[in-house]
């Protein structure tokens, strides 16, 4: 008897819903994150996830988008593996029906996914991987955007710093012997050539090389007055240790690879004075958004202070990337991939973000929202990252 009445009520409610009498539940707008959230680069994926969810909560607290539709984040792990990256890209779009996808740390994964976003007409916004040809991929229309650094722009920035700020004219390049090192050799050489400067030496090292003193000695013999470094944390640490051994007082200007691991822990006070590029720093005076993001990091993720924010660029880039996508959805008046893409390329609204104020940051020609002008030079000081002034 009781069960019968429950069923009766349920049937009645169903009928009412069908008839449109009850207010229809607004379907959420789903957004994807395809990044490495396990394994060695897990810290980067976690940092991106934090930035996205803080921004997402802000949008939802304002009442969501398109007249009350809430945002929802779907996370998939690419494990740093390009094949896996392609699989989850399809899964996010075809099964999870996401409107747009944010990307992670690995350039190789991002490059493998480029054709998928175009085939499925889904906009992709990179938040970390810096490979130049991820965004400059020759596709028209181009579905791939980025709120992060880009190797070519980074090289331009590093060259400008070495030439104008340090006033050095005899650079020595010290690069890891990988595709990443290669792409920066091209970029650094190109931008130095613009200034009529030629590197006095180009030296390479392999992963896990124990001793970098021969490479440093060759650069020193060649008369280098600044070392341009492209390395991840472990090899970067061996470079500064060998530099102390060789007894060479020379400034090191580095790409951001050394910020990804535990560079300061590995080098102790030897890291002091090494400068490198970032898109954002949570140290020093923050704008209103910076304060808000730091507070959210403290409240939600137990972060104690700026020195406790691991992989800070991931959080900062992802935070701004989500707000830009939200604006694009609002402007497109739709969560349809192609329409959101068109809106991203022509954002009318100005967005006073965390990293900068974005005024029409993306155009059909420019798919990188951040350029060399927006980067920040920072320096290791007592194990902390401090902006250079």
């Amino acid at each position: 008897m009781r069960r019968a009445s429950v069923m009766l009520v349920a049937a009645l409610l169903g009928l009412l819903a069908l008839a449109g009498v009850l207010p229809a539940q607004q379907p959420p707008i789903r957004l994807g994150l395809a990044a490495a959230v396990s394994g060695g680069s897990a810290a980067s994926g976690e940092a991106i996830k934090r930035g996205l969810s803080i921004a997402l909560d802000e949008v939802n607290a304002r009442g969501g988008l398109l007249g009350g539709r809430k945002l929802e984040l779907v996370v998939r792990d690419d494990e740093g593996n390009p094949q896996k990256g392609v699989t989850i890209a399809r899964e996010l779009v075809e099964r999870e029906k996401v409107a747009a996808v944010f990307g992670g740390l690995h350039t190789t994964v991002a490059l493998a996914q480029v054709p998928v976003w175009h085939e499925l007409s889904t906009p992709y916004v990179g938040t970390w991987a810096a490979g130049t040809n991820i965004t400059q991929n020759g596709k028209k229309p181009n579905f791939v955007f980025r709120v992060s650094a880009n190797d070519d722009e980074v090289d331009k920035f590093l060259v400008r710093y070495a030439a104008e700020h340090l006033k050095r004219g005899k650079p020595g390049l010290l690069l890891e012997n990988t595709a990443w090192g290669q792409s920066n050799e091209t970029g650094l050489t190109k931008w130095f050539a613009e200034r009529g400067v030629k590197a006095v030496g180009v030296e390479k090292f392999n992963w896990n090389d124990p001793d970098m003193s021969p490479q440093l000695l060759r650069l020193k013999q060649g008369g280098a007055d600044v070392v341009m470094l492209v390395a991840n944390a472990p090899e970067g640490a061996q470079v500064v240790k060998s530099k102390a051994k060789v007894g060479w007082e020379v400034p090191i200007v580095s790409h951001w690879g050394i910020s990804g691991g535990r560079f300061a822990e590995l080098t102790g006070e030897l890291s002091d004075g090494v400068v490198f590029v970032q898109t954002y720093s949570f140290f020093g005076k923050q704008n209103a958004r910076g304060e808000a993001v730091l507070k959210a990091l403290k409240d939600r993720f137990g972060v104690k202070g700026p020195e406790d924010v691991t992989a800070p660029v991931g959080t900062a880039n992802a935070y701004d990337a989500l707000h830009l996508v939200a604006l694009a959805i609002e402007q497109a008046k739709s969560a349809d991939g192609a329409k959101v893409r068109d809106a991203l390329e022509d954002l009318k609204a100005e967005y006073a973000g965390l990293i900068k104020t974005y005024k029409r940051p993306l155009t059909p020609e420019q798919h990188d929202a951040l350029t060399e002008r927006d980067y920040l030079m920072v320096v290791w000081k007592g194990g902390k990252i401090v902006p250079v002034h």
């Binding site: 394994g39 060695g40 680069s41 030296e203 390479k204 090292f205 392999n206 992963w207 896990n208 090389d209 124990p210 001793d211 003193s213 021969p214 490479q215 000695l217 060759r218 020193k220 013999q221 944390a233 472990p234 640490a237 061996q238 240790k241 060998s242 102390a244 051994k245 060789v246 007894g247 691991g261 535990r262 822990e265 590995l266 080098t267 102790g268």
Partner: protein, 289 residues
């Protein structure tokens, strides 16, 4: 520049020699070796990091625990990756020891993490300068340890009763067995000792190379090259070959190019295998007609 290259090369070479002694240890007994010797070095460093840095045990206790763990691992290698194939006379131990090394590396990635961590040592903070060439005091420990351990293994194999038993196994397994030597136990002992040597190397290298699951791979490979050059059967030959290899690497990298370093190093190994396959310090094997 030349002095710095010589000093760096010798420091590097003593690293290779130290690790390469582990290959000699098992080869001298069983004519087999653990191809993943570099992974055992890594294991030593990771265990030492775990008990000393993470758990805060005093260094002396941590070193003893590390060496005990290394010895235990050596026994495991022998039991599961060598013995089943060794007794059958099959060379499969070559692959099975590599496989075990890969497993160890992946287990370390899951438990320890992929990030390189610092192993603090007061001897690796600041370099000291000898004739204008910088060297970390920790690096000076390496040749010392290399020579002491080389002397120790020589004494053990040539002067002690048990060491001679182990050597006898290498000469003729069946005859040794008939003479009352417990062959499997002898081989197991050699593997445990070899792993202890790797553990010592791991502890000494940790402050210099940083601790990470991949720290041992390259150095294990180069140590193998050194063991071939020096002669797998000769501890002294290996230590000398280690210094030579380190010097060649540093000089080639300094005067030719970093790219040429590996080419020259491994070309030397091939040349040695062609001209004198028993190595610098080894003896030409007697042919039985």
């Amino acid at each position: 520049m030349i002095i710095q290259l010589l000093v760096s090369g010798l420091a590097l070479g003593s690293m290779y020699g130290l690790v390469a002694l582990g290959y000699h240890m098992t080869w001298a007994t069983s004519r087999t070796l653990n191809f993943s010797q570099g992974h055992v070095v890594m294991l030593g460093a990771v265990v030492a990091y775990g008990v000393h840095v993470a758990a805060g045990w005093p260094l002396a206790v941590a070193v003893i625990a590390t060496l005990a763990a290394s010895a235990a691992f050596g026994l495991v290698v022998e039991r599961i990756a060598v013995r089943p194939f060794f007794t059958a006379g099959s060379p499969v131990w070559l692959l099975s020891t590599i496989a075990l090394g890969i497993i160890v590396e992946n287990v370390a990635m899951v438990t320890f993490g992929k990030d390189a961590r610092a192993f603090p040592s007061t001897l690796a903070l600041k370099p000291v300068f000898l004739l204008g060439a910088g060297v970390y005091p920790q690096e000076l420990l390496l040749p010392l340890a290399g020579v002491v351990l080389m002397g120790g293994t020589q004494l053990f194999y040539h002067r002690t009763f048990y060491g001679r038993q182990l050597k006898a196994v290498a000469w003729d397994r069946e005859a040794a067995g008939l003479m009352g030597i417990h062959v499997p136990r002898a081989v197991a002992t050699a593997y445990a000792l070899s792993a202890v040597l790797a553990g010592v190397a791991g502890v000494l290298l940790a402050p210099l190379l940083n601790v990470s699951p991949t720290m041992g791979t390259l150095i294990g490979l180069k140590a193998f090259a050194v063991a071939i050059l020096g002669g797998l059967g000769s501890a002294a030959g290996i230590v000398v070959a280690g210094f030579l290899y380190g010097l060649v690497e540093a000089l080639v990298a300094g005067y030719v190019s970093t790219g040429a370093r590996e080419i020259v190093g491994f070309a030397l190994v091939i040349a040695m295998l062609t001209v004198r396959p028993w190595g610098l310090g080894g003896r030409r094997p007697t042919r039985r007609v």
